[in-house]
């Protein structure tokens, strides 16, 4: 049936889309992109997978429940935000470090990037949560094991 084609396309394209979403996440600080849109793209990629293979497969693929993913994301953002409190710096104060790359050049690493990763996680968790809940619907079997 149609799903032959759909599955083939999804199988090939989903990794590409996931890769793309990571690109969006990573380069967000310097070009259009960022945690939000990266997270949304990740969800979109997983939705493609969901349409082709169903919710169970997506849950297997993600492994962590969306709610946990979300809570982890929140913990990361909150943790990053609260880190400066330890040293008496103002809340959400960013910290940067320059990393020299072995092939030359520098890579600026900073807590805002970590913050963005937290945002990314929350967005992935939240949108996946929406989609999975609605796709599984009430009365169906899928998922259903996790505690809140």
């Amino acid at each position: 049936m149609n799903s032959v084609v759909l599955r083939a396309v999804a199988r090939t394209m989903t990794p590409v889309l996931l890769q793309l979403s990571l690109v969006l996440l990573v380069r967000g600080h310097n070009a259009p992109g960022g945690g939000f849109v990266g997270g949304l793209m990740t969800s979109a990629a997983l939705i493609l997978y969901l349409i082709a293979y169903g919710t169970g497969t997506v849950r297997r693929l993600v492994r962590v429940s969306p709610m946990k993913l979300m809570a982890m994301g929140l913990a990361v953002t909150l943790g990053t935000a609260a880190l400066p409190l330890v040293t008496g710096q103002p809340f959400l104060r960013s910290a940067w470090t320059e990393l020299s790359l072995p092939w030359g050049g520098h890579l600026a690493l900073g807590t805002p990037m970590l913050f963005d990763v937290g945002v990314y996680l929350v967005v992935v968790g939240a949108t996946l949560g929406f989609i999975l809940a609605l796709a599984e619907g009430e009365g169906s079997e899928g998922g259903g094991k996790e505690d809140l």
């Binding site: 049936m1 149609n2 032959v4 084609v5 599955r7 083939a8 396309v9």
Partner: protein, 157 residues
């Protein structure tokens, strides 16, 4: 596959030796390597690796011809008053077997102007194709078989 890998290694070697890893330079290295690999074969004639490249080129050629001719017809159909074509939907029993083959076949059919895959039977053996310009079932199926399916399968197998 290993031949392709070799080809890539040759291209990288080309670039590394020259200390110029730019895309253009690597492409040159790749084409040179392809030429080398095409003739390094224990059997007479082009190597299987080169034959594959030739098949791909042939497929692309056929494909390009189809694209140009039927797009032209489609353009005329749209741009001129009245619709002269008499569309039909034909079942096409494919020789493609694997998921990948079926999918690629469908992609190609769809990209071929004038024909459009509408449905695949549950067993994946029959494609239903909407077709704008062919006049008879026989002509359509023959065209599909010879100009689309066979060249594609030759590339894939």
């Amino acid at each position: 596959m290993s031949a392709l890998l070799w080809n890539l290694v040759l291209a990288l070697l080309w670039g590394a030796v020259q200390d110029d890893m730019s895309v253009g330079n690597l492409a040159i290295g790749f084409v040179l390597g392809l030429g080398l690999l095409a003739f390094i074969s224990p059997r007479p004639g082009p190597s299987p690796y080169a034959r594959k490249w030739l098949d791909i080129l042939k497929l692309l050629g056929l494909f390009a011809r189809e694209v140009i001719t039927t797009n032209w017809r489609l353009a005329l159909e749209i741009a001129t008053p009245g619709i002269k074509s008499r569309p039909a939907i034909y079942a096409f029993e494919t020789e493609a077997r694997t998921e990948l083959e079926v999918t690629l076949l469908l992609l190609i059919i769809n990209f071929t102007p004038g024909s459009l895959g509408l449905e695949i039977s549950e067993d994946g053996k029959v494609l239903y194709i909407h077709n704008m310009f062919t006049t008879t079932r026989e002509a359509f199926i023959r065209n599909m078989r010879e100009n689309v399916e066979r060249p594609l399968l030759r590339v894939l197998r």
